[in-house]
Every structure is written in structure tokens, then in C-alpha cells.
């Protein structure tokens, strides 16, 4: 059926387009309202803010896809950054070794989350809530509850590469988005994630072991939280055990704005990335307009709810667009 193949190719990801439209509207709006919006400062703020949240949102997308949730990412990020900082400062480890140490830490936390919740069928909400506390405690323990200053040695991660204008962290984060979207739409793993989120029992009865894939998803979320920690470390040039508080909520918000279903089975990494951009642009833009922190939060909250409301009516709207 060549016709059907054709059809599927030209089916527009109108949901992505909708998000892009929202993003453009926001940028134009802030551009008109504030003369400083189109400036190097804004750009730098955005570029610095985005990478950590982006990679964490990618991991969160996978977790939500299998109908789970990971509340521990913010703490795990802080713990991984702390581990990396301590390895560099107290153990004089080469940066590459410290980086691997941070990623491993994230992987361990994530695997523990996945294994405990999938193996013993404990809701991931509870398990990762526990991990949120454990990892935060770990971060305080490792750093002795002090912010460890690293200075310029790790600055290269977050600062713009000469000639390109963007940081290594941002490039890495975008690379993660591209790879993760590819994994989701092309590979066996991606297919299994969506299937587990849709109907786990059917997956099991088809001879696929959901346990392995679920653990893998949480392990990846942990690993990506570790990577986020590395980015954060590079940006702050210090290991702050208090960093990333509430980040899990920002990540979930970004993913939900991107249209990923909280009940699993439907989602897109690219859309989550667009969700991150929308949140980042809004926060930066509102700050430049001189909106106070409380008002900023109220507006952000309303946008999240609006996004979910919009998502509720996604299907009828989608049908409307397809008919055209």
C-alpha cells in the first residue's frame, strides 16, 4: 500500500507545530515588550539555563511514557554534581574521571529507583520520593553541607565555545534530544516503552519482560540527571548541595507542556524539549519585564494547567485538523 506509506510520511506533527507557534508568539511578545529581550544577555541566560533541564526532561519523558514518574531527579542531579566536585577538589581526579563518577552515581540511583519499583510493584511515585530524600542527604554528606568552589577548571562545560557562541553543554543536550527521539521512534526499546505505557499486561503476555525495560528507563533517567549535574557544575563552577530543589517539577511541567501523557503510552522527546524552551523563554522574558518572582510563579503555573487542558482536547482538535 504505497498510498498509506505516503500518508504516514506527510502526517504533520501538528502538535509540535503548535508548540513551535506558542514559542514564537512568546518570543515576539517579549521582544515587543522589552527592548532587552533580543540581546546577548538574554541569549546567554537561556543557553545556561536550558541544558540541565533539557536532559532531565528527556529522562522524565521516558519515565512518563511507561506510566511512571521520577521525583528524585533534582536531588540526584545535586548528588552527582557534588560527587564530581569532590572528586576534583578533594581527590584531584582528572575531569574525565570525575565526570564518569558523576554519571555512574546517577546511573546507580536511577537503577535503584527502577528496580525497587518494578520488581516489587511499588508505585514509582513513592520510591522516587524516597530517593529524593536519600540523594539530597547524600549530596549534603558528600559536600559536608558546604558549597564547593571549583573555579575555572570546569567552566569550559558551560561557557560558549569561541566562534560557535553556544556552550558544549547545550550542544550535548541537543544531541541527547536527537538521539532520544530517534530511540523512541525507531528502536525496539522505544516501541516497548510506548507499549508498556499503553498496556503492560499485554506486553507481558506477548512474551516481552517489562521488568527489564522499566528498570532501563529509570536507569537512563538517573544517568541523564547525572549529566544534568555535570552541566550544572560547569555553569555554577561550584558544587552546591542545594541545587536542583524543585527541578523535578520543572521537568515534569516541561514534559507535560510537550503533550506527554501522565498516564503513559504517548509522548515525544522533541516536544518535551519545546516545553523546556517555552518555560525558559517565559521565565527569562517575565524577569526582564520586571515581573516579580511571585507573579512569575503564578503565571508559570497557569501556563502548565492551560497546557494540560489543551492536551485534554488534543484528540478532537487533531481530528479537526486532519479533516482539513
Amino acid at each position: 500500500m504505497p498510498e498509506s506509506k505516503f500518508k504516514s510520511r506527510i502526517q504533520l506533527p501538528w502538535n509540535s507545530l503548535g508548540l513551535v507557534a506558542v514559542l514564537i508568539v512568546l518570543i515576539i511578545f517579549f521582544g515587543l515588550m522589552s527592548e532587552y529581550f533580543f540581546s546577548a544577555v538574554t541569549f546567554r541566560t537561556l543557553v545556561n539555563q536550558i541544558p540541565a533541564l533539557t536532559v532531565i526532561a528527556v529522562g522524565m519523558t521516558f519515565v512518563l511514557l511507561i506510566a511512571g514518574i521520577d521525583l528524585s531527579v533534582g536531588s540526584v542531579m545535586a548528588l552527582c554534581a557534588a560527587v564530581m566536585g569532590i572528586l576534583i577538589i578533594d581527590h584531584q581526579a582528572p575531569i574525565a574521571v570525575a565526570l564518569i563518577g558523576a554519571l555512574l552515581m546517577g546511573l546507580v540511583c536511577g537503577t535503584a529507583n527502577g528496580f525497587v519499583s518494578a520488581k516489587w510493584r511499588i508505585p514509582s511515585f513513592v520510591v522516587t520520593l524516597g530517593m529524593l530524600e536519600i540523594a539530597r542527604g547524600g549530596a549534603y554528606l558528600v559536600t559536608n553541607s558546604e558549597t564547593k568552589y571549583l573555579g575555572d577548571s570546569v567552566g569550559f562545560i558551560g561557557s560558549p565555545i569561541a566562534g560557535l557562541g553556544v556552550s558544549a553543554a547545550l550542544i550535548a543536550a541537543i544531541l541527547v534530544v536527537v538521539i532520544a527521539q530517534w530511540v523512541l521512534s525507531k528502536t525496539l526499546f522505544g516501541r516497548y516503552m510506548i507499549a508498556i505505557g499503553t498496556n503492560e499486561e499485554a506486553v507481558r503476555l506477548s512474551g516481552v519482560n517489562p521488568l527489564f525495560w522499566k528498570v532501563l528507563v529509570f536507569a537512563l533517567a538517573g544517568l541523564l540527571a547525572g549529566l544534568g549535574g555535570v552541566f550544572q557544575l560547569g555553569y555554577l563552577q561550584s558544587a552546591d548541595p542545594n541545587s536542583g530543589i524543585g527541578l523535578e517539577l520543572a521537568a515534569i511541567a516541561a514534559v507535560v507542556i510537550g503533550g506527554t501523557s501522565l498516564s503513559g503510552g504517548r509522548g515525544s522527546v522533541v516536544n518535551s524539549f519545546l516545553g523546556v524552551l517555552i518555560i525558559a523563554v517565559m521565565q527569562t522574558g517575565l524577569a526582564q519585564l520586571g515581573v516579580s518572582e511571585p507573579s512569575k510563579r503564578i503565571i508559570t503555573g497557569m501556563v502548565i494547567i492551560a497546557a494540560v487542558l489543551f492536551d485534554q482536547f488534543r484528540e478532537p482538535l487533531g481530528r479537526f485538523f486532519q479533516r482539513k
Partner: protein, 524 residues
């Protein structure tokens, strides 16, 4: 006359009740008999307002009656005790008894008052030794069932529907329940009584109505009809099995190449509603090129048996042996993946909740079980191979859809079922387990599926099939193993079997004494 129903019709896609007449007198116990899908439950659901009738006239207490909701029916004194317990295990016995009308003052529950009342209510069903303050979950299943009955008896009832009330009760408890029913009769309350247990019907019922395929076959006074005759009427007088058999070519039959041996397989569990479910000591052989049907009533352990062979649930005792290693290894399948790796596939009973990936396309549903063999490199799904597979399968099974990319949720039941069958046919299996393969599909898809099953057997596959329709079972099977109350009632050659005999075997391990002692001899 308490209730008079005339020319009742009801369809769920297919007609379930056809021109049914039913009458219930005051103070009468009227038993409903019929095999699976005969329409008993639908009739009761309509009377109690859960479903609405398509057409037909109702008269209740001499007034026209249009039951449009459960609440409306209850307001008129019509109550139903359902098979599944509708109770709250974490609340106390007393709270369960008075859940709808809890004595309260400004929203504060008056525990002492309801416990006092509960104590009395429990006495009516012989549970005087139960403390009303204790959580319901501490009670046994039979006791819980009695609590539910006691709770209904507290309401002002005029018509009571009991759907298999004794399935979890012991002998003395049944005696007590029957005493209560006799009390109700004296008060002029009409009782509709559904049970699979013939001895109970002879004991408690005044009249019996026998349903078959949604039609009323007969209404008789219990004194005027023998148990054997009831079974005959349920099955249908004219045995249709003979002409159906002609369509099957049996020339390929058993060359005695056994593929699977099931030995003393046992799994006993409490099911969700609290009843005992599962199966015990099931043994049979499955031959290549054979369709072995599993007959029996819903809840007789058919599905549980099949799921254990497939590893969806693990068997507790016994084993299965496979031809692939010369029947040397005693196996219990640990997971579906385990069974699939040994060449066993299974089409599950409930396609929506256990089979379909509703948000996926037709092709993704078909390819799902062999996805790992469709990957090219790095775990990337080879989408053109997937498309080819889906197209060839849908051609083979004539699945009707706009394209392979269409979401499977938009397909008809029959086409969804065929897509799930395709999922298994894509695998190289030697044994296929089919649980109700034609449930909820239209007539055309049904005959296509049946033809396919015969075709698979002709190819030398071994097929095990469960069906609640005895006609279908007789049509496609070479042999039929009949299960009754979790045990094997016997294995019959289909050529020697009629619907009547099949039904008789299905009922053979259901009797009141059977609940306590398992030492009943098979009648066949």
C-alpha cells in the same frame, strides 16, 4: 402477580434476549437455568435497572414499570445480590451493612447505633458470632457473601434476585440461607434464583424457567420436571452436533504424535471477589494436528488452566512436558516469554485489557511479539519488514482496515481479534492456545476464525481452544475436555458428544455437598 414481562428484547450488537416472557408471583422462588450466554444475567440486569430493555412490556405489582436505573429499581423494592461482592473490605461489618443509610448526626457516623442494628441483622443469616465492629476483610468469603445478603435483607424488598448466592457457602450456611428464603416467601416476597446447582433448584424453587440462546424454552413447576429433563432443555432437544461434524475432515487425525503432556496441573487461588478459583489435577495430552476443545462453565477453571500452561500465571503443582525434549523435563512455565520460547502462543480472553495495544497501529500490534527478530542494527525496528509482515498477515486473515498505519482502536472487534491472531501466527509456534477466540466478533469473522483454526490443525499445529458456545466447540474440536468446578469431568471425542452431554458433564462437579468434600465420583 408481582412481575410480568412480555416480549422482552435486548441486543448488545447481537440479540441477547428474544421475545422473552417471564412471570413471578408473590411468595414464589423462581429459578433461572441456562448455560453460559443464555441470557440469565441480562434478564436480571434489566429487571434490576442496570440495563434497559430494547422493547417489551413490564408490569410490577400491577403497575407499568420501566426500570431505568439501579436506584429507581431499589426504590421500588427490587434488589439484586450479585455474584461479585460489592463490599468494602477495609470498612467494618456494620459499616458495610448500612453503607447506604448510615445513621449519622451532622455527618458524624453513630457507630454504636449501627453496630446495635448490625448485630440483629447478622443474626438473620446466622452470623451471631461475628463482631460488627471488625473489618470485613477478616471474614471468610462465605461469611462476606452472607453479610451482603444480610445487607439486602435490611432494605424494604418485594423482589429479590440472587445470582449464584451459594457459590462460596458451606452446607450449614446454605441451610440457613434457605431458611431465610422460606421466611421471605411467607412475607410474599418474590425471589429470582440463579444457580448452576441442580439439587438446590429442586430444593428451594417453586418454578423453573429454562433459557437457551436468549429465548425462553420452558417454564415449569419444579415438581413436574426432572433434573435430566432440565439439562436436556438447556442444551436443546434436537442435537445439532451431527451435521456440524460433517464439515470437518478428520482424515489427518491422530497419528499419535503428542506435542504436549499436561500432568496433574494444579493452581488454586482466591479470586478477586473472594471465591475459590483455579483447577486441580488436570491431565491430558495434546496431539499435533488436533484441535482440543475445553468445555465447561465460566469460572470452571478453563481460563486459569490455559493461563498456567502459557505461564501467564504459574501452576502450583504438577507439570507439563514437551515433545521437543522427548517429554524428559518436568516443566512449569514461569512466564509467557518462557512458553513462547518453547513454541507456545496464546490468544487471551479479554482482548482490550490483555491483548491490544490500543494506541498502536495495526501493523505494530501484529508485529509486537516478534519485534526482536525484526530489528536490523542497534535495536532499530526494520519498518519495511514490519510493514510487509503486517500486509501479508492481513491478507491471509482478511483483516479489513484502511491501512496498516490505522490505529487498531478504530477497527471492529472481529478485525481486532484477527490482528491479535496474526500476532501469534507471525511466531513460529507448534502449540496455540485460544481463549474465546470468537467472542464479541460478528458472524462472518467468527466463521473465518473457525475455518482458520481447522486450517492450523491441518498444518500439523496443536490447538487448544476455550469457548463458551458449545456449538462452536463441537464444530471446531476433534476432542473436548470438559471442566467442572475446577476439575476435569472427562475428555470426549466430539463425534460421540452432543450439546446435552457436554452440558451434563459441565455441571457434574457442582453440588452443595461438593463444597465440603471433594470426593464425588464423575458421573461419566
Amino acid at each position: 402477580m408481582l412481575l410480568r414481562i412480555k416480549k422482552l428484547n435486548k441486543s448488545f450488537v447481537v440479540p441477547v434476549l428474544k421475545n422473552l416472557d417471564f412471570e413471578l408471583h408473590e411468595g414464589e422462588v423462581h429459578a433461572l437455568l441456562g448455560s453460559n450466554g443464555a441470557g440469565k444475567s441480562t434478564l436480571c440486569n434489566i429487571i434490576s435497572g442496570i440495563h434497559t430493555a430494547d422493547s417489551g412490556s413490564f408490569e410490577y405489582c400491577g403497575m407499568p414499570y420501566t426500570p431505568h436505573s439501579l436506584q429507581a429499581a431499589e426504590a421500588l423494592g427490587i434488589c439484586m445480590v450479585m455474584q461479585e461482592l460489592n463490599l468494602f473490605p477495609t470498612l467494618s461489618v456494620a459499616e458495610n451493612l448500612y453503607f447506604r443509610s448510615m445513621s449519622n448526626r451532622f455527618g458524624i457516623v453513630q457507630h454504636q447505633a449501627i453496630q446495635r442494628r448490625a448485630k440483629k441483622a447478622l443474626q438473620t443469616v446466622g452470623l451471631n458470632y461475628i463482631d460488627p465492629a471488625q473489618p470485613l476483610s477478616q471474614l471468610g468469603v462465605g461469611q462476606q457473601q452472607l453479610v451482603e445478603i444480610a445487607s439486602v435483607l435490611q432494605r424494604p424488598i418485594r423482589l429479590l434476585i440472587l445470582d449464584e448466592p451459594t457459590s462460596a457457602l458451606t452446607g450449614p450456611q446454605i441451610d440457613l440461607l434457605f431458611e431465610q428464603i422460606i421466611q421471605l416467601k411467607k412475607q410474599g416476597i418474590g425471589v429470582i434464583y440463579i444457580s448452576h446447582r441442580m439439587d438446590e433448584i429442586s430444593r428451594i424453587a417453586d418454578r423453573v424457567s429454562i433459557l437457551r440462546d436468549g429465548e425462553l424454552v420452558a417454564t415449569k413447576a419444579v415438581a413436574d420436571i426432572s433434573t435430566d429433563r432440565m439439562v436436556q432443555l438447556m442444551a436443546g432437544d434436537e442435537s445439532t452436533s451431527i451435521d456440524v461434524k460433517e464439515s470437518i475432515d478428520q482424515s489427518h487425525l491422530p497419528n499419535n504424535s503428542i506435542l504436549l503432556k499436561v500432568e496433574n496441573l494444579t493452581r488454586r487461588t482466591k479470586n478477586q471477589s473472594g471465591g475459590d478459583s483455579g483447577f486441580e489435577n488436570i491431565s491430558f495430552n495434546l496431539n499435533a494436528g488436533e484441535v482440543l476443545g475445553i468445555g465447561g462453565l465460566i469460572g470452571s477453571g478453563r481460563t486459569e488452566l490455559m493461563r498456567a500452561i502459557f505461564g501467564a500465571d504459574q501452576a502450583h503443582k504438577g507439570c507439563i512436558r514437551l515433545a521437543s525434549d522427548g517429554f524428559k523435563t518436568r516443566r512449569i512455565m514461569k512466564s509467557p516469554a518462557d512458553a513462547i520460547s518453547h513454541g507456545i502462543g496464546m490468544l487471551v480472553e479479554d482482548r482490550k485489557s490483555q491483548g491490544l495495544l490500543l494506541s498502536h497501529s495495526v501493523s505494530k500490534n501484529i508485529s509486537f511479539a516478534i519485534l526482536d527478530s525484526l530489528n536490523s542494527k542497534l535495536g532499530v525496528v526494520d519498518q519495511s519488514a514490519e510493514q510487509d509482515l503486517a500486509e501479508s498477515m492481513s491478507k491471509k486473515l482478511s483483516i479489513q482496515c484502511d491501512s496498516m498505519q490505522q490505529p487498531i482502536s478504530l477497527l471492529s472487534g472481529g478485525n481486532q481479534q484477527k490482528a491479535l491472531l496474526a500476532r501469534w501466527l507471525a511466531i513460529d509456534f507448534s502449540i496455540l492456545l485460544l481463549d474465546e477466540p470468537s467472542r464479541g466478533v460478528d458472524a462472518r469473522a467468527k466463521s473465518q476464525i473457525q475455518a482458520l483454526i481447522r486450517e492450523l490443525a491441518a498444518m500439523g499445529k496443536a490447538v487448544l481452544i476455550i469457548s463458551s458456545e458449545s456449538q462452536e466447540l463441537l464444530k471446531v474440536s476433534d476432542r473436548i475436555a470438559v471442566m467442572s468446578n475446577g476439575r476435569l469431568a472427562g475428555i470426549f471425542k466430539t463425534t460421540e458428544l452432543s450439546e446435552e452431554k457436554l452440558l451434563e458433564a459441565s455441571f457434574c462437579f457442582y453440588s452443595s455437598e461438593d463444597n465440603q468434600s471433594k470426593s464425588v465420583n464423575a458421573r461419566i
